[in-house]
């Protein structure tokens, strides 16, 4: 399998805090990679580094063999890296359709406004927002806003889509819908990095999981192995529990 994204000892400091510390891993074409870790582990910061929101303090990031470490956010977006935001960020004074058209127009290769709107409609149909195209983005419910984020990402025609907690705050029926959508997107050949706290989501979608803790990578492997990894259990539940748990299961 060809490597699509490669991180080589990527670090980011905020003042004295090592938000991301010497993280290296690869993502292959067509893979669904899960990114887990307790709150504050550096998951979102890592996504911010990949998408150029913050520059990395050190290390290199390669996308499709090309060094994108020093590129700015809009250039990276046009290369085919899309993301959703954990805290949804729609353009509140634009309609749902206009919101999605933005992605098509500026990163999705739409030839003009008309084409962008046509493409946006398709993505909204796919994400089940076909009946809300003319509503203002600020009037949507949280579940629909999350789907709007997804539609915006898809409109960019990404090769790599990063989903930052698209399921947080949704009920279980909404989650099932979202998971079906994510699997369909993956079947179309889009590589996906998914951040999620819900283990149900992780186990049913991710083919591989990378775990972060205090900015450091503590595990990388198939889901079952990572979730049994004592360091991962310790990160989530504390060292006492980890000792007891690995003792009883060993």
């Amino acid at each position: 399998m060809t490597v699509l994204l490669e991180l080589k000892s990527v670090s980011r400091q905020f003042g004295g805090l090592n938000a991301v510390n010497d993280v290296s891993f690869q993502v292959s074409q067509g893979e669904i990679l899960g990114l887990i870790g307790p709150n504050g582990a550096g998951k979102t910061t890592l996504i911010n580094l990949i998408t150029g929101v913050h520059p990395a303090t050190s290390g290199r990031i390669l996308f499709d063999g090309q060094d994108i470490t020093k590129m700015r956010a809009h250039q990276i977006a046009r290369k085919g890296l899309a993301r959703t935001f954990q805290v949804v960020q729609p353009f509140p004074k634009m309609t749902v359709l206009e919101n999605v058209a933005t992605g098509a127009l500026f990163a999705g290769g739409a030839t003009g406004l008309k084409d962008a709107f046509a493409q946006a409609r398709q993505h909204l149909e796919f994400t089940g927002l076909g009946d809300s195209v003319d509503k203002l983005a600020s009037t949507l419910t949280l579940a629909k806003r999350k789907r709007l984020e997804l539609a915006k990402g898809l409109a960019m025609r990404p090769r790599l889509l990063m989903l930052d907690e698209v399921n947080a705050g949704l009920n279980s029926m909404e989650i099932d819908d979202a998971l079906r959508m994510i699997r369909t997107i993956a079947e179309r050949g889009v590589t996906i990095i998914i951040i999620e706290h819900l283990m149900k989501v992780m186990l049913s979608t991710a083919q591989r999981i990378v775990a972060l803790h205090y900015g450091q990578m503590i595990a990388d492997g198939v889901p079952d192995a990572v979730l049994r990894n004592p360091r991962v259990i310790e990160a989530y539940l504390g060292s006492k529990y980890a000792a007891a748990h690995s003792g009883s299961s060993a």
Binding site: R78, M94, G103, F106
Partner: protein, 309 residues
């Protein structure tokens, strides 16, 4: 969009017809109206569409006035001078914009505020070229006063129409779309592939080109310019008030605002000469508190209500 063009053509024709038949006081008022409309419309590009509150209007206006004045005194034809003034202002804006458009909100506003002061000092210290604090006389057009007043009205009217046409085109363009995204959430816009820096710089340049030309026409119109006149801070503040009055980010809001402010100036301020600056302040505060979307939004609300009934 079609409706916008119809309104623009009708409005321009009406002002032209009124001006042709009116007396010289009325023509002067209409000329100022067109100038104000140009300034307000221009401010709307950067302040309204992109959401960057600029106080650089006075800088562009004065720069245009002096560019044209100096060139005209070198014997260049008047229309060419006006054009070069616009070009000079736009190039200046792009260069300055490159340096300050990474600032946001108040910081950007403060940075733009000092540009006019800087240019004013440059003019003051170069008396051989610009006349310095003594001011600069411009060549007088050798045509009758009545014809002159109509020529300058026509020039300002054409400029206001061109600026408004640019706004109409901008609203439905890729650039306009990108600016609206930047105005609402700049980092989200970048993530979606909008080159925010480039777009903001373009908007800043657009907000300068027509203002520079307005300054140039103004200079030719009044025949004499001096730094405190063309770099006046009020030239930077008034467009902002007009746009807030009329409706920020809309096509005809700035023009409505220009009309209302001009009417206020003529009717109220000449009766309260000493407190007109305070009146301006009160208007801004009332606007922000009670009508953040301007008079244009009020009209829209009314027509929407009527449509429902």
């Amino acid at each position: 969009m079609k409706r916008d063009w119809v309104i623009l053509v009708c409005g321009a024709a009406a002002i032209g017809a009124l001006g042709w038949s009116g007396d010289n006081y009325f023509i002067r008022l209409l000329t100022i109206l067109c100038m104000y409309a140009t300034l307000a419309q221009s401010w709307n590009f950067i302040g309204g569409f992109a959401g960057y509150p600029s106080f650089a209007t006075a800088a562009f206006f004065g720069l245009g006035a002096y560019t044209s004045g100096v060139l005209q005194n070198q014997g260049l034809p008047i229309l060419m001078c006006w054009g070069l003034a616009g070009l000079c202002a736009a190039v200046f804006a792009v260069l300055i914009g490159g340096a300050i458009l990474h600032l946001r909100g108040h910081y950007f506003a403060i940075a733009t505020l000092i540009i006019a002061e800087m240019l004013r000092e440059i003019v003051n210290t170069t008396p051989n070229l610009t006349g310095g604090g003594m001011g600069l006389n411009l060549p007088i057009l050798r045509i009758s006063v009545d014809v002159q007043s109509r020529v300058f009205l026509l020039a300002m009217l054409v400029l206001a129409v061109v600026t408004t046409a640019a706004a109409i085109l901008l609203q439905r363009s890729r650039l306009g779309f990108g600016l609206r995204c930047i105005q609402q959430n700049e980092s989200a816009a970048s993530i979606l592939g909008v080159n925010a820096y480039q777009y903001k710089t373009a908007a800043f340049g657009m907000s300068a080109v027509f203002v520079g030309m307005a300054g140039a026409i103004y200079a030719s119109w009044v025949n004499y310019i001096e730094p405190p006149d063309v770099f006046d801070i009020l030239i930077a503040v008034k467009p902002l008030v007009m746009v807030l009055l009329g409706g920020i980010g809309t096509i005809f809001g700035p023009i409505i605002g220009a009309m209302v402010l001009l009417a206020l100036e003529e009717l109220v301020w000449r009766n309260f000469l000493t407190v007109h600056a305070a009146a301006l302040g009160v208007i801004i505060i009332l606007l922000v508190l009670f009508l953040p979307n301007g008079l244009f939004s009020l009209l829209k609300d009314l027509s929407a209500k009527r449509a429902k009934q």
